[in-house]
C-alpha cells in the first residue's frame, strides 16, 4: 500500500487537524478507541494486512475502477475536459465499500464478532451488511426513519444480506440521530462490537482511519489522469456529506498546490431558506459526535436540523479534516441546491448514460459551475461516488415520472 501523502498538519497532535478533530466521548469509549487506534496503526505497517485488503479490492470490489472521460457532459461544463472517477462501479454501488472492507478486517483482527453502523442514504449500511456477510460477522444498522422511507430499496438490500435494520424514531429521524443510537449501542456492547463508522467524522481515530481506507480513490485517480491527460488536473471535485469520498479523492492531490480541491455540500431548498446542510456557509466550530468541527447549531449550541434531497448529505456536521482544509484555504467548499443537483442528475443520465446517486449529482453540478469558470482548457475530475439505483423513486417523483408507466422525464 502506498504511504499517505504528507500534509501540512501531519505534525498536529494525533487525531487533530489544527483546532479540529480530537475526541469528545464518554470515558467508557476511551479504551475501545485506543484499542482501535492500536489495531489500525499495527495493520497499516503490516504487509499481510495491506495484501489482504488489496486482494479484496481487486477481486471483490472490482478495483481499480475506471476514470471515464465524459465529453458530452463536459460540454455542459463550459467545454472543460471532465473525467469521472467511477466509484459507482464498485461492488455495492458506491465508494463506501472501500472503508468498510478495511474496518471489517480490523474488526476480525480485534477479535470482535459484531459490527454496528449508521446509515443515511443506505449505501454505507449496505456496504457494512455486505462485508459482515462476507466475513461472518453479525451486523446491526441504525437508520433514521425518514431515511428508511426515502431509501427503501437499500433497507431491503441490507435485510437480504442478513443485517438487522433498526429505524430510529427520535430527533430529526435522519443520519444525526442514527449516529446517536449507534453510539448508545456501542457503549453498551463494546466488548464484542466494533462501530463501523461510515465517514470521516467522529472521534479519533475514525477521521484518519476512514480517510486512509479511501485514499485508494485518489491514488488511482492520480495515476489514471496522468495516463489519460498527460498532466495533473486543474481541479478535483466531490460532494461532501461527512466527507469520506471527498477526502479519498483529495488525498491524492493534497501535495499538488496547482490542483484545486473543490467540495460541494447540500444547499437543500437554498441556504437562505434555512433548509439545507451547508455547514461551511452557516455552521460555526463546535463539537458534534465526538469531534470538533463545523456544526450547524443555534446560539445555545443546540444542533440544528439539516435538510437535503440527498439522504447521504443530510448531516449538520462535517469531517474535521475538511474543517481544517476549509480554514487554511487549501480546499474550497460551496453549496449546491436540490434543484441544481437534480438538473445535473438528469444531464448525466441523458448525455452519458450514467445514472448517478443524488449525492454525486451535487458534485456534478459543482463541475458544471466550475467548468464554466475555468474554461475549455481545464481538466476536471469528478468523484462519481455512487450509482443512482437507490434514488430512482426520488428522481421519478422529482421529474414527474409515474412508476410503472413508460413516460419520459
Amino acid at each position: 500500500m502506498a504511504t499517505s501523502s504528507t500534509l501540512p498538519h501531519d505534525d498536529n497532535p494525533p487525531g487533530h487537524f489544527g483546532p479540529y478533530g480530537g475526541r469528545f466521548v464518554p470515558e467508557a469509549l476511551t479504551a475501545a478507541l485506543d484499542q482501535l487506534d492500536d489495531a489500525f496503526q499495527a495493520a497499516i505497517v503490516d504487509p499481510a494486512f495491506g495484501a489482504e485488503l488489496a486482494e479484496l479490492e481487486r477481486t471483490y470490489t472490482g478495483r481499480p475502477n475506471p476514470l471515464t472521460p465524459v465529453l458530452r457532459f463536459g460540454e455542459l461544463c463550459g467545454g472543460a475536459r471532465v473525467f469521472l472517477k467511477r466509484e459507482d462501479l464498485n461492488h455495492t454501488g458506491s465508494h463506501k465499500i472501500n472503508n468498510v472492507l478495511g474496518q471489517a478486517l480490523l474488526t476480525t483482527r480485534m477479535g470482535k464478532t459484531r459490527v454496528i453502523a449508521e446509515t443515511g442514504a443506505g449505501q454505507h449500511g449496505v456496504a457494512a451488511a455486505t462485508a459482515a456477510a462476507l466475513m461472518g460477522l453479525e451486523c446491526t444498522v441504525y437508520m433514521g426513519e425518514e431515511d428508511t422511507r426515502r431509501q427503501a430499496l437499500n433497507v431491503a438490500r441490507m435485510k437480504l444480506l442478513g443485517a438487522e435494520v433498526i429505524p430510529v424514531t427520535i430527533g430529526s429521524r435522519t443520519l444525526k440521530d442514527a449516529i446517536n443510537e449507534a453510539m448508545r449501542d456501542w457503549v453498551a456492547s463494546v466488548d464484542r462490537t466494533h462501530y463501523l463508522l461510515g465517514t470521516v467524522t467522529g472521534p479519533a481515530p475514525f477521521p484518519t482511519m476512514v480517510r486512509h481506507f479511501h485514499e485508494v480513490i485518489g491514488r488511482e485517480a492520480r495515476e489514471q489522469i496522468l495516463a489519460a491527460a498527460g498532466r495533473l488536473p486543474d481541479a478535483v471535485v466531490a460532494c461532501v456529506g461527512g466527507g469520506s469520498n471527498a477526502m479519498g479523492l483529495f488525498s491524492g492531490f493534497l501535495d499538488d498546490p496547482q490542483v484545486q480541491l473543490r467540495g460541494y455540500e447540500a444547499g437543500g431548498d437554498g441556504v437562505e431558506t434555512g433548509r439545507h446542510a451547508s455547514r461551511f456557509s452557516t455552521g460555526v466550530p463546535g463539537v458534534l459526535h465526538g469531534a470538533r468541527t463545523y456544526v450547524m447549531q443555534d446560539e445555545w449550541g443546540q444542533t440544528l436540523p439539516s435538510h437535503s434531497i440527498s439522504a447521504g448529505l443530510d448531516y449538520p456536521g462535517v469531517g474535521p479534516e475538511h474543517a481544517y482544509l476549509h480554514d487554511t484555504g487549501r480546499a474550497i467548499y460551496e453549496s449546491v441546491n436540490d434543484d441544481e443537483a437534480m438538473t445535473a442528475f438528469a444531464a448525466l443520465c441523458r448525455t452519458e448514460g450514467i445514472i448517478p446517486a443524488i449525492e454525486s449529482a451535487h458534485a456534478l453540478a459543482g463541475a458544471m459551475r466550475l467548468g464554466r469558470e475555468l474554461g475549455p482548457e481545464a481538466v476536471i475530475i469528478v468523484n462519481l461516488s455512487g450509482r443512482g439505483d437507490k434514488d430512482v423513486a426520488t428522481a421519478a417523483a422529482w421529474f414527474g415520472i409515474e412508476l410503472g408507466h413508460s413516460e419520459s422525464m
Partner: protein
C-alpha cells in the same frame, strides 16, 4: 478555603453515610416546575444536585432522560435558563453542579460560562464527553473561580487512565458503574465495586457511583463501598409518569426520602 463539595463529603463521611446526588434536567417539564422539583429533592434529603443542561444530541443518555431533555428544550430551556435554575435552587439551599455535554458550554463561551455559573452559586460541572486531553481551556477557566471539575471513570478505564482522569478532577470522581447509557436498571452493575476499589487505590478524592441506581435498596448497597450515590433516570421517570405537577412533586420527594434512608450504612 474549603469548597462546598468537599464540605458535603466531609459531613457525610462524619455522619457515616454516603452523599446522595440527584440529577434533574433544568426546564423539565418547564423551567418553573423544575425549580420546584429540585427544591423538593433537596428538602427530602438530596445532598448534591446535578442540574442537567438539556442538549439536542444526548448520546450518553437512555430513553427517560432523552424524553425529559426533549420536553425541556421544547419548553424553551436555554443555557441562560439553566444558569437561572442554578441560582434559584442554590438560593433554596441546594449545592448544585451543572451536568452538560460539552458543546453548549463551548458555544456559550468557556470563560463566560464559568463566570456566570460561579455568579449563580453553582459549585462545579460534570461534562461527560469532555476528556482530560481536550479540557485545557476548561481547566484554565475553572481554576481560581472555585468551581470543581468532575470527570468520569468507567469499568473499561485502565489504571493509567484513571490516574490521568483523577489528576484533573476535583470535588469527586464520577464512577460510571456500567458500560452503557443512563437509565434505571434492576441491578447495579457488578463492575461497580471493583471499579471503585481500583479508583480508591489511585486517588484520595471522594468517589460517587452513577448509572442504574433507582431504589433505596440499591443506594444502600452502593453506599457500602462508595462515597456518593448518583440517581438520575429514576427521578426523571417519576416525573414522566406523574399525572400532574403536584403528584410529580410528591413522587420525587418520596423517592428522595427513600434514597436518603438508603445511603445510610
Amino acid at each position: 478555603m474549603s469548597r462546598p463539595l468537599d464540605e458535603v463529603f466531609t459531613a457525610t463521611r462524619a455522619a457515616g453515610r454516603a452523599a446522595l446526588i440527584g440529577y434533574l434536567p433544568a426546564g423539565f417539564p418547564t423551567p418553573q416546575e423544575s425549580v420546584e422539583l429540585i427544591t423538593a429533592m433537596v428538602h427530602a434529603g438530596v445532598d448534591i444536585i446535578e442540574v442537567g443542561l438539556p442538549y439536542s444530541d444526548p448520546l450518553m443518555d437512555g430513553p427517560a432522560i432523552q424524553e425529559a431533555v426533549d420536553l425541556a428544550l421544547k419548553a424553551g430551556t436555554t443555557t441562560d435558563v439553566v444558569l437561572d435554575t442554578v441560582a434559584q435552587v442554590t438560593a433554596a439551599g441546594a449545592t448544585a453542579v451543572v451536568m452538560s455535554y460539552w458543546n453548549p458550554i463551548e458555544r456559550y463561551g468557556v470563560e463566560r460560562f464559568a463566570a456566570r455559573l460561579a455568579d449563580a452559586g453553582g459549585v462545579g460541572v460534570i461534562a461527560p464527553d469532555l476528556t482530560p486531553e481536550e479540557a485545557g481551556p476548561w481547566i484554565a477557566a475553572t481554576t481560581g473561580r472555585g468551581l470543581d471539575r468532575v470527570f468520569l471513570v468507567a469499568p473499561s478505564s485502565t489504571d493509567t487512565r484513571i490516574t490521568t482522569v483523577c489528576s484533573v478532577t476535583s470535588g469527586f470522581v464520577y464512577a460510571a458503574s456500567t458500560m452503557g447509557v443512563t437509565g434505571a436498571r434492576s441491578e447495579v452493575s457488578s463492575a461497580a465495586p471493583a471499579l471503585v476499589a481500583r479508583t480508591r487505590r489511585l486517588t484520595s478524592l471522594p468517589i460517587a457511583v452513577g448509572l442504574g441506581v433507582s431504589t433505596g435498596a440499591q443506594a444502600h448497597e452502593v453506599a457500602a463501598y462508595a462515597d456518593g450515590v448518583i440517581v438520575g433516570s429514576a427521578f426523571v421517570r417519576r416525573i414522566l409518569d406523574a399525572v400532574d405537577h403536584a403528584s410529580a412533586l410528591a413522587r420525587v420527594g418520596d423517592l428522595a426520602a427513600e434514597l436518603a434512608v438508603g445511603v445510610t450504612r
